[in-house]
Assembly symmetry: C2
Homo-oligomer: 259 residues x 2
DNA sequence: TCGAATTTGTGCGTATGTATG
DNA sequence: GCATACATACGCACAAATTCG
């Protein structure tokens, strides 16, 4: 039996300002999210309006606004001073370029003094269907799996899982651990150049692993890319899934004019 | 020991396996999100595991799992049958291609039977710094602003705000409203072709406008693109900010490198 | 130096929502 | 469905720090 599933019009709005109750998301968290996007992300003001004013504006109790502010202070986005006010801690977002020649460190050059990736773990495992298809292997084939963390100026920005064909790259983990650079490691293994063939971008809530490795707070948002790198002849080299902290990074896709 | 009953809770860690408590996001909603991503989005199974098994896996009470399932049934992602089980209502995620020739309807061809965009509102307003820079106008210059909604098979998937230079496109809203297609409208106004010069991708929580127009639930995630379209000579035509429902759409960036 | 106004910090009682068994 | 415990949200009151005339 098909139920009334109206998709187009929103299910009757709350008469109260804007926030939705009884949705499983606490008001203080909804307010924290709105303060982030309305005052912190796009903002001109260095100071947040007083708590009483925010409470009126959002139609909630001052305690509730305070809970939201406390959460944002906890993640370092705001700073409060008794008697003076609540101030915005400004931290620019990195623009990570997605191009046919995407490279971590080179891509963030000029945006952070120090950029590096670090290998956390590596194993040999059976390829999932997704990985096998990307690397043109048969499902269940053995693949090298690498977990790494990308940081800019000491702040973690990305968390990647990547896979390589061991037939060609069995020594990759060892070389990568030594050089600390995917590009150098691949060069040493005979791949002088590689190109980004395709990138899929999605977004979701941070899972517990993201929260731990990227030092996020629960409820945070991550950008997820699934990328295939090939050699100049088009043979697959590496497939990777990378999670970026969405409040620290945005992705930039440029097309050289003329196409 | 006095119990901690303060309203200001946030910075607290998880003790239980995976789900985070005290985060302002109810367990049943976190579980609903995980069922969506683990069983509904990427899945092979048509049937959800039994409630008791899910309860064990997530380390929560069966009541809590039932609340999550009830929410997903409410949004049409699951269907329960007494005595038989809980079944997944399959609706794949759309892959929205970002290319030098990005077009809404053509891009989703083959993925949805019916694709269309609809203009919600249009006004003349003063350009913000961001819009002015993109369209190569001076800040504060008058610009045409258009709000539109993109839908596939009746389900809203994107919500766009776009700006045009009124010197060249004063009649755009009228023509667009009539044709229902940006490409046709531009063609009628003398722009036979246009190219995507750059795209910036970010992700954030849905704001109340997103929740209303895209029929999302609070706490949902949206993908945001900021795009500049130019004519083949490189002169700016349109600047737009588009919000995609992240659980219905992913972005695909292809580079035809080898071909 | 003083006080008044403004703003953040704290406490308590109560009602409702969420999660467990 | 019931009983219990904790989390969330509200309302009210007052304390502490800062600003300003």
């Amino acid at each position: 039996m098909e139920r009334d599933r109206r998709v187009t019009p929103p299910p009757a709005k709350a008469e109260r300002a804007d926030l939705e109750r009884r949705t499983g998301v606490a008001l203080w968290r909804q307010i924290a999210d709105r303060i982030r996007s309305e005052f912190i992300s796009g903002a001109d003001e260095a100071r947040l309006p007083p708590e009483t004013e925010l409470a009126t504006r959002f139609g909630v109790n001052r305690h509730t606004v305070r809970a939201a502010i406390a959460a944002l202070v906890g993640e370092g986005a705001l700073r409060t001073e008794q008697g003076r006010g609540t101030f915005i801690v400004r931290r620019g977002r990195l623009a990570y370029p997605i191009t046919p020649r995407t490279r971590f460190s080179a891509g963030l050059e000029g945006q952070a003094r120090e950029r590096r990736t670090r290998m956390l773990r590596h194993t040999l495992e059976a390829a999932t269907e997704e990985v096998a298809r990307a690397l043109a292997l048969s499902p269940g084939a053995s693949v090298v799996r690498i977990e790494s963390l990308g940081a800019a100026d000491g702040l973690p920005v990305s968390r990647a899982t990547s896979w390589y064909d061991p037939q060609r790259f069995a020594r990759f983990p060892e070389v990568y651990a030594r050089t600390g650079s995917v590009t150098s490691a691949l060069a040493e293994l005979g791949v002088s150049d590689y190109l980004r063939a395709s990138t899929l971008v999605e977004a979701r809530h941070a899972d517990p692993g993201d929260i731990a490795d990227l030092a996020l707070s629960p409820g945070a948002v991550v950008l997820v890319t699934r990328a295939l790198n090939t050699d100049p002849e088009g043979a697959p080299i590496q497939y990777s899934i990378t999670r970026f902290a969405a409040d620290r990074v945005e992705l930039r896709i440029d097309y050289p004019s003329g196409s």
